[in-house]
């Protein structure tokens, strides 16, 4: 089974990926699947009624708000980085966590690099499929790099402006 990096309770670890990512033209295998937004909108209800876990893959030009009413039933939202420079998924992750209150897994997929680890965690990602061969240790180190943050974001870290007030 393929593996990916997961952040649970503040600890990075390697996890086996129980989900199969299915392209739109592929026949659905049994078990837990991650499908595109289009496919989810067409077949989502049926898939969920089959008792399996369902994840949805959101392209960088799609709005996560499209999932607003389905989120309680969705296990994983996979946000795509077609190129690491395409930063739309950072916004999508924050909207999922801070506005839509999503509690499931938010996974970074595509051109996912360790140099963005800190930003991703701050925006609410908790699962990562690195494209640069980076390890759990690399991700752990990268996200511990900065002792302080200046902004409030989705990770609950205390921003400098609040830390100073204490």
């Amino acid at each position: 089974m393929p593996t990916y990096i997961r952040l649970r309770g503040g600890v990075f670890g390697l996890a086996e990926d129980g989900f199969t990512t299915v392209a739109d033209d592929e026949v659905l295998p049994p078990g837990d699947v991650i499908v595109s937004l289009t496919r989810f909108q067409a077949d989502g209800e049926r898939l969920l009624s089959e008792g399996r876990q369902v994840g949805v893959r959101i392209a960088s030009d799609e709005a996560v708000e499209a999932l607003a009413y389905d989120l309680p039933q969705i296990a994983v939202v996979a946000l795509e980085y077609p190129k690491f420079r395409d930063g739309r998924a950072f916004t999508s992750a924050r909207v999922l966590r801070e506005r839509l209150g999503f509690k499931g897994e938010v996974r970074a997929v595509g051109d996912v690099l360790r140099t963005q680890a800190g930003f991703m965690v701050r925006c609410g990602f908790d699962a990562f499929e690195p494209a640069d061969g980076s390890s759990v240790e690399d991700w752990d180190r990268a996200t511990r790099r900065f002792r302080h943050v200046y902004q409030r974001a989705a990770d609950g870290r205390v921003p400098a402006f609040e830390a100073r007030g204490v």
Binding site: A63, F84, R85, D86, G87, R88, F90, T91, R94, R99, T115, Q116, G118, F119, M120, R122, C123, D132, R145, F146, R147, H148, V149, Y150, Q151, R152, A153, A160, F161, E162, A163, R164, G165
Partner: protein
């Protein structure tokens, strides 16, 4: 001035350590150049034609003498003994070795400086009025807000991979010295009738290939809601700005495509959802404001005898005062502009010795305060008029007494083909040739305010679109040609210049500018600046004169 606390210092130390590790990986061959490029760009390190260039951030253009001396020392130790002040109030070192950069960043951090976000598709250094805290015109000190924005924008987790770079300017004075209307966001501090402090928010100004003047999307934003509103703007831009074509990726293109009204509507809708949790608490604003508390100015008579005597006896001093010294809010003080546009030199360059001379003056006569202007000059914002003759003498000794602020030889020029990998044509030598035409200071003063701005390519780093006379270098079959535009302005009367006519070859540019100026002198009415005359007459007389000359 704002003093970094433990949190600010540890941010820089952590950043510096991160970059050291990245450089080590690059030098060891663990990182290929294409993987390293985005990392080095996040630390202001560019690979130029001959060497690496390191762009050091000077937040809102404010420096203390210790910092300026450190920049001088870095210039002497790691560069060729000088640095180049930029139109973003930053400083560039053009001859840097990659292996030295981690040490340089450590040295910068030791004086609370850094190169964070001086490049890349992120929120860049915040521009603010270089006269902040010194001019009587302002209704609040814009540095308070600029410093708060510096912190908010530093390593912002959501907005570090925007469609394109993002520049913010803030001013609190009616006379705009920040080019706010050609920034991605321009903020003008306003006070409501009931005394409440707030901002006029302009969005979508910019230069480059498609210049735009910013549109006001909110007449009055309550000051304590600044950060939630900025997040709303950035979020709309991050989601909807174009990413398919880097030339169409700036926010100005999105604002133009949607229309300012629709863009404003989307921002307001997003803002409502963002809520106030990202806004700074009043206690933090008060802490930052405290750092910019008014200096302890002496109570002085409005007229200084030493100053008046020097004006009467020394014509060079009198000229310097006429052009380079601006009114201060306190009687007996002046704002002193130091020109980095000595005729024959590279606009914006300062040698290590000159930087040290300015640092000494700031310490001795200037309340430890130095500013950088977006027009690539330096400012001592608080000098007693009694001390002005001594300051002038010291500047003269350092080769920094050119009395040409806002005159024809006070030219903005990008580094151009002498350094830059993007350039089509030289900028610096064109600036030098034009400046020669106005080397006679009497003539330059007779011409009066004239903003000449030169870019070596369409990316417009030299702000040519908003020059009273703008000059753009283009490549025509391997030869350097220059397109001239007239009537632009980056100030409160902002406008994009209009084309004069066909591009001119390199060796005709300075003569053409000379002809434009002669035409202005012939056409002008009493009290008109070049820009005013052009706006009254239109392009016709200028065009006729230049092209009659060419043929």
């Amino acid at each position: 001035m704002y003093r970094y606390d433990t949190i600010d210092r540890e941010m820089l130390a952590d950043r510096s350590a991160e970059f050291r590790e990245q450089v080590e990986r690059r030098l060891a061959g663990d990182l290929a150049e294409d993987q390293f490029k985005p990392l080095r760009l996040m630390n202001g390190l560019y690979l130029q034609l001959h060497a690496y260039m390191l762009r050091v951030a000077i937040p809102y253009g404010a420096l203390n003498p210790t910092q300026l001396r450190k920049l001088a020392w870095i210039g002497r130790t790691y560069d060729k003994g000088y640095g180049h002040f930029t139109t973003r109030q930053n400083l560039q070192f053009h001859w840097i070795k990659l292996a030295d950069t981690p040490d340089i960043l450590d040295h910068l951090a030791s004086v609370d400086m850094h190169a964070i976000q001086t490049s890349g598709n992120c929120i860049r250094n915040i521009t603010a009025d270089p006269y902040a805290g010194a001019t009587a015109e302002e209704i609040d000190d814009p540095r308070v807000w600029a410093e708060a924005m510096r912190q908010w924008s530093t390593l912002h987790p959501e907005f570090s991979f925007l469609p394109r770079k993002f520049k913010i300017a803030i001013t609190a004075a009616p006379k705009d010295r920040t080019a706010a209307k050609v920034h991605d966001i321009g903020l003008v501090v306003r006070r409501a009738r009931d005394g409440q402090l707030g901002f006029e928010v302009m969005v979508g100004g910019g230069m480059g290939r498609t210049p735009y003047i910013g549109s006001t999307i909110r007449e009055f934003l309550p000051a304590n809601r600044l950060f939630s509103y900025l997040e709303a703007i950035l979020r709309v831009y991050n989601r909807h700005g174009r990413r398919d074509n880097s030339y169409k990726a700036r926010i100005k293109i999105l604002v133009a495509a949607l229309g300012a009204e629709e863009f404003a509507r989307q921002v307001e809708a997003e803002w409502e959802k963002v809520g106030a949790s990202v806004d700074l608490p009043d206690t933090e604003l008060a802490r930052i404001r405290g750092a910019f508390a008014p200096m302890s100015f002496e109570t002085l008579p409005a007229v200084s005898e030493a100053h008046e005597a020097a004006k009467a006896s020394d014509p060079a001093y009198a000229r310097f005062v006429r052009n380079n010294v601006k009114p201060h809010k306190k009687a007996g003080y002046g704002i002193v502009e130091i020109s980095l546009k000595t005729v024959g030199e590279t606009p914006g360059d300062a040698t290590a010795e000159q930087m040290e001379a300015v640092a000494d003056l700031a310490e001795r006569y200037g309340q430890d305060d130095i500013r950088v202007t977006h027009e690539q000059n330096l400012v001592l914002p608080h000098v007693r008029l009694d001390d002005l003759p001594s300051v002038h003498a010291a500047l003269r000794a350092a080769g920094l007494a050119s009395a040409n602020i806002n005159l024809a030889s006070d030219i903005i020029a990008c580094p151009g083909l002498d350094y830059c990998a993007l350039a089509n044509a030289r900028s610096i030598s064109v600036a030098q040739h034009i400046a020669q035409k106005f080397a006679d200071p009497d003539r330059a003063e007779r011409v009066g305010e004239l903003k000449i701005k030169i870019s070596g390519c369409i990316n417009a780093c030299g702000h040519h679109h908003v020059g009273h006379i703008g000059i753009l270098g283009v490549d025509k079959k391997g030869e350097e040609f220059y397109q001239l535009t007239l009537g632009g302005s980056g100030a409160e009367d902002a406008a994009v210049g209009q084309a004069l006519g066909p591009a001119l070859p390199y060796d005709r540019v300075a003569d053409a500018v000379d002809t434009l100026v002669e035409t202005y002198l012939r056409e002008r009415h009493d009290g008109e600046r070049f820009l005013d005359t052009f706006r009254r007459t239109g392009v016709a007389p200028f065009k006729e004169a230049v092209y009659a000359d060419v043929h």
